[in-house]
Symmetry: C2
Subunit: 526 residues, 2 copies
């Protein structure tokens, strides 16, 4: 499978003029071929094909969609070596990371296939007619989940596979029955093309209409703008920066017909360490934090960026351990120069803020994308007073916030904006007497962890990868796990129809999970 | 129970300066007492009390909330005669309507109590730890639904009970565990006060903290603005006009922390009549439409405002029948002068639009709020060309759109904006050959009906009272039925916690409906 610098529009490879290229962040080398910004006509063609599939019910059969998702996993595995090779060149991430991420991505695709087979998270609900009910009869009511329509997916820079062209957003949208128009990430367009081609082949394998998936490439902001504002787009999914997510959200809100945008915009993922945990496990916790912060050169949306402790003698030892574990390794290569500059800029701004000091920087390197680990410290009162200190720094840094008391720790918790995660380290006993911390954190996060690290997002049914604004644009949805399918469906109630006129999944003989007259039916299989 | 012209703030009656009063729309008589716009301090007090209940988990026990909802129904029944008396004076709606609406409202409150007892629609999902899983262990993951926080509820003018202070939005928000600050409707403030006092008593009956419910009165737009922009408000529910709903939605989107607004803004609820149905049941359908349009003097969000037929000989007879049934009765009294003026204005604008004519007006009356039934007709091509012709006219009118062919009928369907409902009259045979109409309509509505009338919204599990923009602000939620609770909760995932530290509903011994390691558990009772 070669990389041609094309858009993939409804099964066709479409060439452009060649306006940008990927760069190897480790070497600075330009990577061929050239890619081009999708034109308005190309975006139109992709959306029109997707809309046609939607309107004609071309993706209505859940069994066909399950086949597509399974085939996508198989095709990505087949293209695995090529994707890893190009991915390493484009991102600077190590080979092992691509191998592991491929496993996770393919498992994720297959999980959605099984969600479709079990019909969980998009159940139909049926209430049969009660013609003799007083004072008025009850009509036959059948509520099903219908796909929203074509979804525009903006993948992340930091997970080219798991949150990319065939990542969680695409997999859940396809599972929901929505055609997808993915926007390639300009930092790894070759990787996107390879994954896009694997998806194209999977569409053919599953004998689904080609318009169900398109990939448009683009470096210019205009490509994304045109896509989000296209009247045929019914929803938008995004994983990336706060500024990027909010821009798309605002664009969607100013359409003639506004559409939902689910943007996962990352967060600072505070970790609270209670005194007993600090005393008994301080060194181990410091070492785990250092590993977690340095994962993927700090380019994880769940990277622990704020560490809250109560200052005591153990606090000093903890600080020493953390400083040593975090800042003694050589620098890592960040994804692209823009992200590297963002990291420096955010650190500079923090370092010049009142009450913040740089405790230690790790070894620097000579590459344009080399990033050194950094440990910052903020005094708790400054942290409480200045909301800008809690913004996400995307890179291998973390900020220690030492409190003078547990009371002050609660004030720090209370001041937090919405987060994807918060973590508490402590003993069961000390938390039973400090329940208020858990309550305050639960109301500010999507996931709360006990004696763990926030990096590592399990893909399953109980996961919630979301959280209150500004971690995401809507706290009610997750972008990871089986429930993420729910972002892309809406209920429709069919009232009083004879069986022959109902959509297949509402007919009386339909298999799969239903709730009928207040009783759950056996799931069976579709 | 007397009407004092007060706000009800966290269990207290709070008097104001007296700035507005209700008016009897039938007689024009001013009704005492005077009411006042809630001040910023009063709104602050209500939201602060609500937020305190939320943060302290004061409404966390679903059993207590079920008691509250049952008690609310009982207290409203006790106050039934007083509410009906004042309601008739304030709205011009007949006594029987209040009696029926009370029944529906109390059933609705009790339905949410039973939803809580069965724990449907807010299930917890548990995945237990797999410490030996390869390549990495799975942590214990438990996802529960946590209340969003204080909800601001703006009730409708047209259903003072079922969509009012103790209506669907309030009932579902309380069921979700969210404290409610209801904004009284300035056209029926006395009715709101009586219902609010019944709710206050129910809060005491259930021994829940008083801050869980407040009622602030107000005629000025400022009251609603301050409420929606208050940082303590976590969500907004609204039933009313498109302009009102979109205003609140925009206000919420410009907050520092935007919050979800679910606005149900009504629609034109098109009815499509196929040739065989027109030939065999034309007269009966005409008569049903007339009844449906005249229900509540046309002040139903599901009133059928567009009737689409294919012109033929039967069409002429149908038109005659519809015209006669709709326009021969005396006028009805609309809710208030503003709504009456809106009706005249909308009719005037339509009548002066290209391709539209007034076929017949019913008898007029001398009261300031008297409204005559009106039958309009638009030619199909004008209707397709001019989107303004399909806007909702709030009042007892409907517009006939005669198509030259079934093909043209499809074009009319395709041009429709988002609707709460669409209805199709036809035989099963003719629809089996015309499936495309159902597909086009399904993608534009929240509920699709066969051989029925859209007015009459069943309160149950399979109902969907929602629909694509501009019928509502988010097609994924319903404002009626058991599923409406889902608007006001968000998932939180608890990872790796010992049982003692988990919220009660996630502990291993918790009763109620769960999904554990991929298997649904018996619902039991909470």
């Amino acid at each position: 499978m070669s990389i041609e610098g094309v858009h993939l529009i409804a099964g066709e490879s479409v060439a452009g003029q060649g306006t940008f290229h990927a760069t190897n962040p480790a070497s600075g080398e330009r990577l061929s071929p050239q890619f081009s910004d999708a034109t308005a006509d190309q975006i139109d063609a992709a959306v029109a094909a997707a809309f046609q599939v939607h309107e004609s019910r071309g993706a209505e059969d859940p069994q066909a969609r399950a086949r597509l998702l399974d085939a996508a996993a198989a095709r990505i595995e087949q293209a695995g070596a090529a994707i890893t090779k190009r991915g390493v060149e484009e991102t600077g991430l190590p080979e092992g990371r691509f191998e592991a991420e491929r496993g996770r991505t393919c498992n994720q695709l297959r999980m959605f296939a099984s969600v479709l087979r079990e019909r969980i998270f998009t159940e139909s609900i049926i209430e049969t007619a009660l013609p003799d009910r007083q004072p008025v009869p009850r009509p036959d009511l059948r509520r099903r989940m219908r796909a929203l329509g074509p979804v525009a997916v903006f993948g992340a820079s930091n997970f080219p596979l798991a949150f990319g062209i065939a990542g969680s957003d695409t997999a859940s949208a396809l599972a929901a029955g929505c055609p997808v128009i993915a926007k390639g990430h300009p930092a790894h367009p070759g990787c996107c093309e390879l994954i896009g081609k694997a998806l194209q082949e999977a569409v053919r394998d599953a004998e689904l209409p080609a318009g169900i998936f398109s990939l448009v490439q683009g470096q210019s902001f205009d490509v994304g703008t045109q896509l989000v504002q296209h009247p045929g787009i019914a929803a938008v999914a995004f994983t990336g920066s706060r500024s990027g997510g909010i821009s798309l959200w605002k664009l969607a809100a100013t359409r003639e017909v506004p559409v939902p945008v689910f943007a996962e915009m990352g967060s600072a993922n505070p970790v609270f360490i209670l005194p007993e945990a600090l005393a008994t496990r301080g060194e181990e916790i410091a070492s785990s934090i250092a590993v977690s912060v340095r994962l993927g050169v700090g380019q994880f949306c769940t990277s622990p960026g704020i560490i809250v402790t109560v200052s005591d003698d153990h606090g000093e030892a903890f600080k020493e351990s953390l400083s040593a574990s975090l800042c003694s390794e050589p620098p890592g290569t960040m994804l692209h120069p823009g992200i590297r500059e963002g990291y420096s800029g955010a650190l500079e701004q923090l370092a010049s803020s009142h009450g913040v000091e740089v405790l230690r920087r790790g070894p620097t390197g000579s590459g344009a994308c080399d990033a050194e680990a950094t440990l910052l410290q903020a005094d708790a009162l400054s942290f409480i007073a200045d909301k800008t200190l809690q913004g996400e720094v995307f890179g291998p840094s973390t900020m220690l916030v030492e409190c003078s008391s547990l009371e002050e720790m609660l004030r720090v918790a209370r001041t937090l904006e919405g987060q994807l995660t918060a973590t508490v380290h402590g003993t069961t006993d000390e938390l039973q007497n400090f329940r208020q911390l858990l309550d305050l954190l639960e109301d500010r996060v999507g996931r709360i962890l006990f004696n763990g690290m926030p990096t590592g997002v399990e893909v399953g049914e109980a996961m919630h990868h979301g959280g209150p604004w500004p971690a995401t644009t809507d706290s009610r949805w997750t972008s990871v796990g089986a429930a993420s399918i729910q972002r892309f469906v809406r209920p429709v109630c069919w009232q009083g129809f004879p069986d022959q006129l109902l959509p297949a999944d509402l007919r009386s003989a339909a298999k799969g999970r239903h709730r009928i007259d207040g009783v759950w039916q056996d799931p069976g299989s579709v």
